[in-house]
């Protein structure tokens, strides 16, 4: 029996962590993810978990300690946001190259500068090619569910990669919504125990981790990481199937919302999908065939599947809550359009950078995007594929 509760996104992530009961949590405070280690240290203080909580002196040390703990043979988890992830950056690459299935709760926030504590995806986009599995969550329920599935994916013998569960700072992390929780025992059974093949604390088989890896070997080791990321696709779907059996909640690489018969659609991630669904419903009432594709699994990137799912559209808008500042478009836009090109799906596509630094993402703005998509669908032409929405009036709404 699921338990009906009301929790914020941070509470949802912390509750999942409590039920997973990892051996080690090493974390450092940073808004808006601070609450996760706060809640978690309360669980530790009250003896609700077996975890050693390591209150490190920086995020660099948080990830370093997680690497040490995971290599030692334990389950290690952490949480961070924005600059915290930037400070971890060096260790993020090392964690994945050492094939350590660490799980990180990333509460997305704008990376400085200037300093801004509010939501966008610039933190996650900064590590998108670091060899981590990246799951995005529309709301508290998905943040919880993704966290429960995380270890099963990351620790799978064909994968052995670290994984981050993303949710939008404040919008999700600090908003209290209804949620269905699973019972502790069921979670314990679903997640299972971690028995690594090789680990530092195994006296019978001492190992050495993190060598100097010269020209003769590094390329092969990187190719193994690449293979593991490809393998993760299958595992993610298998775990989702098992999860559905337990909860009745279904997950894939992405969610298609009224996409099947849509003529125009938006592609986005995290909380914006909720607002977009509202707009899609509104447009559908007017007879406009609008749809949505919400990416859940961003790394590994389900290129072929996304291209196929969008192939029937007359126009598509891809949203990026982080600008790549490359004069060409955001990261999600480039991923989606290159997937479509490679899979020979020729749909006019346009990119919108939006919501930077916590700028409110309004239903009206999204509705305007669909209006522009209708025009593109009609003409079949995209004059300027690299656009913004939500800039304050006085700045050009659509073009830079």
């Amino acid at each position: 029996m699921s338990i009906r509760e009301r929790l914020s996104g941070n509470e949802a992530a912390a509750t999942a962590m409590k039920q997973i009961n990892p051996d080690v949590v090493a974390a450092f405070p940073i808004t808006p993810s601070t609450e996760i280690p706060q809640y978690f240290s309360t669980f530790v203080a009250n003896g609700a978990v077996d975890t050693e909580f390591v209150a490190v002196e920086s995020e660099h040390s948080a990830m370093s300690a997680c690497i040490g703990a995971e290599a030692a043979g334990s389950r290690a988890m952490t949480a961070t946001s924005a600059n915290g992830l930037s400070l971890m950056w060096e260790m993020i690459y090392i964690a994945s190259s050492l094939r350590l299935p660490i799980v990180l709760s990333l509460v997305n926030r704008a990376v400085s500068g200037p300093l801004n504590i509010h939501n966008d995806h610039s933190d996650a986009m900064g590590v998108r090619d670091a060899g981590w599995i990246m799951l995005f969550s529309e709301n508290n329920q998905e943040a919880y569910d993704n966290t429960l599935m995380a270890h099963r994916i990351a620790e799978h013998k064909d994968v052995m990669l670290p994984l981050m569960v993303c949710q939008d700072g404040f919008i999700t992390s600090h908003s209290i919504e209804n949620i269905e929780l699973e019972e502790d025992e069921k979670v314990k059974e679903f997640v299972g125990e971690y028995h690594p093949e090789h680990y530092l604390l195994n006296k019978k088989e001492p190992i050495a981790v993190g060598p100097l890896d010269v020209q003769t070997y590094l390329f092969e080791h990187k190719a193994q990481q690449a293979k593991a990321m490809i393998n993760a696709k299958k595992v993610i779907l298998e775990v989702a199937k098992d999860f559905e059996k337990m909860t009745g909640r279904s997950y894939g690489f992405f969610e298609e919302y009224k996409l099947e018969d849509a003529e125009i659609a938006v592609v986005c991630m995290n909380s914006t999908a909720g607002t977009t669904k509202y707009v899609v419903d509104k447009l559908r009432e007017k007879g406009i065939k609008a749809g949505l594709l919400k990416i859940r699994v961003y790394r590994p990137f389900p290129a072929e599947e996304i291209a196929e799912a969008l192939s029937h559209l007359k126009a598509v808008a891809i949203f990026d809550k982080a600008d790549s500042l490359n004069a060409a478009g955001g990261a999600v836009f480039e991923d989606v359009t290159s997937a479509m090109y490679v899979n020979q799906k020729n749909v006019p596509a346009v990119n919108y950078i939006y919501g930077i630094g916590g700028r409110d993402t309004k239903a009206d703005d999204i509705e305007d995007v669909y209006t522009e998509l209708l025009e593109i669908a009609k003409s079949g032409k995209v004059e300027n594929p690299y656009r913004y929405f939500g800039l304050r009036k006085g700045g050009d709404k659509n073009a830079l």
């Binding site: 077996d50 975890t51 390591v54 300690a65 040490g68 006296k203 001492p206 050495a208």
Partner: protein
């Protein structure tokens, strides 16, 4: 049992094996081998290495010189990495997932310890992890080619503090890391070196490893490339560092300072400086002031140490 070098070396197999690529005449390998010998034979160890000469010379894929478990992650975080492994041990032991005794030892050069790794080290010590952090201090970034660090002595000629026509080497004094670590109020801090059959080094390593809680060892480890001495002179350089009081041997046990060796005849600092090319310019006519100033600093630091010790 009183220390006997023959017995220690004869009865305890080396846990840091031959085949590593460290230079002849380097102070680090004998230091590390002896520290590892201080482990009880039945105890397992998890060793963390900061990026540096020791790491890149002892663990080149697919070979390793370490017979215990070893982990290297990056330059600045041996302290944090090992603290995570130690936390895993505490957690798993508490839960009954493991039953052996494992000790935790980190090795970092002065670059990875005095400079870029200071924060990570400080955090690990403050949090009270049951581990030993060993700095093998060779007084510069030797792995990247002899760049100055905050452990580099004043006036030393390095590739980023070259002795030039206007600036005669490094113009700043050496950071006193051992005292900084003593300031963390951890149970055990010691400064040592491979001297007198490694007695001081071995005994301090044993204390550091088997003292519950965090411990810090600062070991001077001369570098023939960076210091410019003949490779067969290593032990002589070690001796001169101690006999001139450049590198005092002392320990701080639960906040109490104790000097472990007082030279009967303190040698003038020239004796230590002279065989090293990095100080060559100090012996040019007109540069006598540099040697005088160096001597003054050594004397002042030694006096300070004696005063602190006498207060106990």
């Amino acid at each position: 049992m009183p220390y006997n070098v023959k017995e220690v070396v004869g009865n305890k197999p080396s846990r840091f094996t031959a085949g590593h690529r460290m230079c002849a005449g380097c102070g680090a390998p004998p230091t590390i081998r002896m520290i590892m010998r201080a482990l009880k034979p039945e105890d397992h160890a998890v060793v963390a290495g900061a990026t540096g000469c020791m790491e890149v010379s002892s663990f080149i894929y697919p070979y390793t010189s370490w017979t215990d478990s070893f982990i290297h992650t990056a330059f600045e975080c041996a302290g944090a990495t090992l603290s995570g492994a130690e936390a895993a041990y505490q957690s798993m032991k508490k839960q009954g997932k493991i039953d052996n005794t494992t000790k935790f030892i980190a090795f970092g050069g002065d670059g990875g310890t005095y400079d870029i790794g200071l924060q990570s080290l400080s955090g690990a010590m403050e949090r009270g992890h049951d581990m030993v952090y060993v700095c093998y201090d060779n007084g510069a970034y030797m792995n990247t080619g002899i760049q100055r660090s905050s452990a580099t002595p004043k006036f030393a000629d390095t590739t980023t503090s070259p002795a030039g026509k206007v600036i005669p080497g490094k113009m700043q004094s050496r950071k006193d890391l051992s005292k900084i670590m003593a300031g963390h109020h951890i149970p055990y801090v010691a400064q040592t070196i491979g001297y007198m059959n490694f007695k001081d080094l071995y005994e301090k390593a044993e204390k550091a490893i088997y003292t519950e809680g965090p411990a810090f060892l600062n070991v001077l480890a001369p570098c023939p490339r960076g210091w410019g001495y003949p490779t067969d002179m290593l032990m002589q350089i070690n001796k001169l560092a101690v006999e001139t009081c450049y590198w005092p041997l002392y320990e701080v046990i639960d906040g109490k300072y104790k000097i472990n060796y007082k030279p009967a005849n303190k040698l003038p600092i020239e004796e230590f400086l002279k065989p090293q090319k990095r100080f060559k310019h100090m012996f040019k006519p007109g540069n006598e002031w540099m040697i005088e100033e160096f001597q003054k600093e050594v004397d002042a630091r030694w006096q300070d140490l004696e005063e602190i010790t006498n207060k106990n």
